[in-house]
C-alpha cells in the first residue's frame, strides 16, 4: 500500500487516485510501483496533481508498458489543460487517453 496512490476498485475497473501534488523525481518510484497491480480497465486520476515532469512521465509509462503486456486499457482522468498540452507534446495521450467522469460511470453501472 502506497500513500501516494489511493485505490478504488469495482469489477474490472481500478481507479488509482494520485494523492501527491507533484509527480516528479521524488514521487516517481512510489507511483511506478503500483503498475504491478492493474485491472483490465485502469484509470489514473490526476485531480490532485499540479505538477508532472519527465521523471513523472517515465513512471506513468511503466503503466503503459504493463497495460500493453496484459492487453489492459489505461486511461487518465481530470488532467489539467496544461498537462493535456504536455501529454500531447510527447504523444503520451495516444497511449493513455483521457476519460470523462461520466463515461467511467457507465463502467461503474455495468459492473
Amino acid at each position: 500500500m502506497s500513500d501516494i496512490i489511493r485505490r478504488e476498485e469495482f469489477g474490472e475497473v481500478a481507479i488509482l487516485h494520485v494523492t501527491t501534488t507533484s509527480v516528479d523525481a521524488i514521487s516517481a518510484a512510489a507511483i511506478a510501483a503500483e503498475c504491478q497491480d492493474m485491472r483490465p480497465i485502469t484509470v489514473l486520476d490526476f485531480s490532485e496533481v499540479s505538477f508532472i515532469n519527465s521523471a513523472g512521465i517515465s513512471a506513468l509509462l511503466k503503466f503503459v508498458v504493463s497495460a500493453r503486456k496484459s492487453g489492459y486499457k489505461l486511461f487518465a482522468m481530470h488532467v489539467s489543460p496544461h498537462h493535456q498540452k504536455i501529454f500531447k507534446m510527447v504523444e503520451m495521450s495516444r497511449f493513455m487517453p483521457t476519460i470523462e467522469e461520466r463515461d467511467l460511470a457507465e463502467y461503474r453501472i455495468a459492473s
Binding site: F51, N53, S54, I57, S58, K62, R68, H82, M89, V90
Partner: protein, 141 residues
C-alpha cells in the same frame, strides 16, 4: 536588471525549491498561470539533468540557478559541476511503440525544454554544463 541566485546540493528534493522559486519569479515577471507552468517544467527538467547527468548525483556538487529579469526578457542559467558533455540532443522525442517495446521510457527532458522556452543555449566545458533558457514577455492577445 534584477537577479535572483539559488544554489542547491545535487539532491532531487531540492529541485522542488528551485521550481517553487521559479514560479514566484515568473509571477513577479508578470507571466500568466500557463506560462508559469511552462517555466516550472522547463527549469525542473534542466535542474534534474544537472543533478543526474552533470553532477551524477554527487551531493557535494552544486547546481547553480540564476534568474535575470531584464526588461522584456527573463533569462535563467542552470549550471552544474560535471565533466561536461560533447553535445545534447534536443530533437523531437515522443512516446512510440518501439521505445515502449525496448523499455526506453526516458529522454523527453531536453525536447520539452526546447518546446517550452523561447530560446535555449547549451554551453559545456570540462568545468561543467550551463543551460541558458530565455523567455520573453509576450503582448497580450
Amino acid at each position: 536588471m534584477d537577479r535572483v541566485e539559488l544554489n542547491i546540493p545535487s539532491n532531487p528534493i531540492f529541485e522542488r525549491v528551485v521550481r517553487a522559486s521559479a514560479a514566484e519569479v515568473g509571477s513577479a515577471f508578470g507571466f500568466s498561470e500557463e506560462r508559469i507552468e511552462d517555466l516550472k517544467l522547463a527549469i525542473s527538467e534542466a535542474v534534474n539533468n544537472a543533478i543526474d547527468h552533470g553532477n551524477r548525483g554527487e551531493a557535494g556538487k552544486l547546481v547553480a540557478v540564476v534568474f535575470e529579469i531584464d526588461g522584456e526578457k527573463l533569462e535563467i542559467r542552470i549550471s552544474d559541476q560535471g565533466p561536461g558533455v560533447e553535445r545534447i540532443d534536443v530533437t523531437r522525442r515522443v512516446v512510440d511503440e518501439a521505445n515502449l517495446e525496448a523499455g526506453e521510457l526516458r529522454g523527453f527532458g531536453m525536447y520539452l525544454i526546447s518546446e517550452l522556452v523561447d530560446d535555449l543555449e547549451v554551453s559545456s566545458s570540462h568545468r561543467g554544463t550551463i543551460l541558458t533558457l530565455r523567455l520573453y514577455r509576450r503582448e497580450q492577445p
